[in-house]
């Protein structure tokens, strides 16, 4: 069974002025078709306002489609009976580390989710222990979240989601407010969860270098999916990405600039090593 299947998913909303009169409408998500397989690491890229966050919020039924449908493991999000099951299946980590931590002690926050779904006390403890271990935060279990760094807080948030035993985690720009070290911590954790525990990961971001090891990349603009493919396929189209307000990893950009100047660098270069190799091969070929 597919993890996620969306069919002509749309989300429109009306804009009201101060008196409540309708002054316009906006289409945040425009007829999106999407298929995500279990165990994949998917990245969704897009400039601010492209609809990527709005799309993400449909996956765990925070938003319901105004047109079309989306199924999570076969469950239609519009069916209210599925709500809690869907939210347990698809967990979500948000952008602001502070605004998603409820507990005043790390382990209590991680237990919040299981408490909500009525898990017995002993089982809650087991899940909390395992989740903290998965994100490598066991050492901090008794700490106050206020004393943690941004990267550590996000890992606690991920642990809080893991404690619900989801099949899929959606991360909505989880590193946007972090420093480079924090970003690395979070992305490494997420990659590990995907690889070692087989959790489907959907990473919404606009940091290109986080996306290099994804299985598939979707690019959104004006509520539509305008590009999709492997990272290599996507990042070789530098001009098109620039048109969508996006950037490419530095190595890919340099490769592109060199190609523009007439050097015969092959397409699809992503990393420093690949570029160095290509340039050296070219040099020795000359």
């Amino acid at each position: 069974m597919e993890m996620i299947h969306a069919d002509k998913l749309s989300y429109h909303y009306k804009i009201h002025d101060e008196e409540g009169r309708v002054t316009g409408s906006k289409t945040a998500v425009d007829s999106v078709d999407l298929d995500i397989a279990t165990g994949d690491f998917i990245a969704v890229l897009g400039h601010n306002g492209s609809g990527k966050s709005t799309l993400a919020k449909h996956i765990n039924a925070i938003l319901l489609p105004t047109g079309g449908s989306i199924w999570i493991r076969g469950m239609d999000t519009k069916d209210m009976a599925n709500l809690w099951e869907i939210r347990q299946t698809a967990g979500m980590v948000f952008q602001n580390p502070d605004n998603q931590i409820i507990g005043t002690v790390v382990e209590e926050d991680v237990g919040f989710g299981p408490e909500n779904i009525g898990i017995p006390t002993k089982e809650i403890w087991r899940r909390v222990d395992e989740s903290l271990k998965s994100v490598e935060m066991t050492k901090y279990r008794h700490a106050s979240p206020n004393k943690l760094s941004g990267g550590q807080k996000q890992r606690v948030a991920i642990a809080g989601v893991l404690a619900m035993r989801p099949r899929c985690i959606v991360l909505d720009e989880p590193t946007a407010m972090l420093d480079p070290a924090g970003r690395r911590e979070v992305i490494d954790t997420v990659k590990r969860l995907n690889k070692d525990e087989g959790i489907t990961v959907i990473l919404i971001t606009h940091y290109m270098d986080e996306v290099i090891s994804a299985d598939k990349v979707f690019v959104m603009d004006k509520g539509r999916i305008v590009m999709h493919g492997t990272p290599r396929e996507i990042f070789s189209q530098v001009e098109m990405l620039a048109g969508y307000g996006l950037d490419v990893p530095q190595a890919a950009k340099l490769a592109h600039e060199l190609r523009k100047r007439g050097l015969d660098i092959p397409a699809g270069i992503l990393t420093k090593d690949e570029l160095v190799e290509a340039v050296c091969r070219l040099k020795s070929g000359i």
């Binding site: 939210r87 979500m92 602001n96 005043t104 919040f112 408490e115 006390t121 809650i124 206020n146």
Partner: protein
Amino acid sequence: MLRDITLGQYYPAAGLLHRLDPRVKIVCTLIYLVSLFLFNNIICYAAATAFLIAVILLSRVPIHFMVKGMKAIVVLLLITVVFNLFLTQGTPLVHFWKLTITEQGLRTAAFMAIRLMYLIIGASVMTLTTTPNALTDGLEELLKPLSKIKVPVHEIAMMMSIALRFIPILMEETDKIMKAQMARGADLESGNIFQRARAMVPILVPLFISAFRRANDLAMAMEARCYHGGDGRTKMKPLSYRCADYTAYAVTAAYLAAVITIGNTVHFHLWIF
């Protein structure tokens, strides 16, 4: 840096009191505080003093933390003592210029002063040995019966613990906003009270907006983790009574009984007290 300030006055230590169930502490503190107003007899005050000293010793909290709470009521204490001392009618004791101190005045002033001090110290012991979160859990459990008459006990407790969590965060944000507005030339220090109040607008508006934004984000995060109110929720750290808790209840009950009995039967006087 502001985030390092521990909220409330919780003082971590390996004391007996720290390990007690928060419900015990809340109930016993209340009983103690109420007891202070049930007698007027010096033997009872002695008993109350003994009880308090025992509790302070068991708490393992350095004495100066207890006394810190008194700073807040110094003015009230002074006013109470002075008024009772000089304005109570009765048998005169001492004269200062036109002012007379009566026996009754001295008596009332002393007793009121002691009551106030013990009130503060008693409450301090509770907050020093119980984390704000434990207090919230304890209150939630104690007030649970009220939910049968539709009082939203769980929601209130949830609100309190979220507030506790965000107070340090909002304090830090206030500091940041203040600095940002000062960097734009805002003057938060000079002027009369009206000018200073107006100067707070550039601080309060962004702060409220930020608080609402956070609340919105938090609500979404809670829903994403399947929060749907108190029904069907289990607890990770359920409160359960142990031996020491029952002992504490028993000791406090005994104290209360003793104080009521002595207060009504024994008539003992030390000078005018």
